[in-house]
Symmetry: C2
Subunit: 188 residues, 2 copies
């Protein structure tokens, strides 16, 4: 074990993001990332399995939040409302770091392998919410469809929040997008 480094994870993340944006994700190395953060490679690997994980480790937290929000929704809540509350709560978490999210998306969009990784993580979130719904007694295909619908809203609202300047409130955008989804599926 090395010595304890204050905020090592945050410093590594910041250094990684700078290098990914300056030189591209492919070119940046773990040695450089650790060096720029003033830390060792060994410290890097105590926090992240590889450089890609710097961009994705937050999704574990997101998944836990979505699953526990769906599981903890009041008993009479309709499945779509349980999922909407979960996605809105995720919006609250995500919007704490807008500048980080914006820079992360630039890195992801520039690299097909990272885009594919992002999509498989999102598909996993849809499936996790569907599972949480099944545990509440929701049957299929309603459970799968509601999970997928929740992720569709999350993707679209998140994209708007990142791309449109002056979009301050992501949870609000999530709510609006759920209303919009209801309207479009009703054929309005």
């Amino acid at each position: 074990m090395g010595r304890w480094e204050p905020n090592a994870r945050g410093r590594l993340e910041q250094a990684a993001m700078e290098l990914f944006l300056e030189r591209g994700f492919e070119q940046a190395t773990v040695t450089e990332i650790a060096g720029r953060a003033g830390l060792t490679q060994r410290t890097f690997f105590r926090h992240f399995a590889d450089k890609r994980e710097v961009l994705f480790y937050g999704q574990e937290m997101l998944r836990d939040l979505l699953v526990s929000a769906v599981a903890g929704a009041p008993e009479p809540a309709a499945p779509i409302d349980a999922v909407a509350d979960a996605v809105v709560a995720a919006g609250g978490l995500l919007q704490e770091r807008r500048e980080y999210a914006r820079r992360r998306q630039i890195v992801i969009d520039a690299n097909p392998e990272l885009r594919e990784r992002e999509l498989i993580k999102l598909a996993g979130l849809a499936e996790a919410m569907a599972d949480a719904l099944r545990k509440r007694g929701v049957s299929d295909p309603a459970a799968s469809l509601t999970g997928e619908a929740g992720i569709a809203v999350l993707k679209v609202a998140f994209g708007r929040w990142l791309s449109e300047p002056g979009q301050p409130d992501l949870p609000q955008l999530m709510r609006e997008s759920f209303s919009e989804l209801k309207a479009v599926t009703a054929g309005q």
Copy 2:
């Protein structure tokens, strides 16, 4: 140019699928695929860019079908109905080859790289339908949400059709899943 080989594409596809299932996608080589089909490597590469494309070339056709169906929907059709008609039409195309689809899915599910590829293709289909809606004058976020909703239904209905024995009619399952999506988003 080599000589013309009758149904070379079909023979290569069949040989590839057998080898992918017998030995795994990673292990099978283009040389083996061509050999089993009784054709040359050169013939293989006239039909497919690489072995992965054997599994994905059909998605071009699917994309064209979805886009032209959305574009050609009657003028007063609600966006969700234009997308539903497109996805139901795609169901008609896909169900012509159930055994192929079932075997293909086994290969895809066994390989994370192929699963990611599949998801990025599906995301591309959602975006293509959203674009076709924008050309019909549908604004965002309705266009994006409707495209995503269409792909959510396609994924869920296709998964049911493959996994549940005795599901004969994919277009019908697509229609039912759209109704189900309407019901779940309405909070029923």
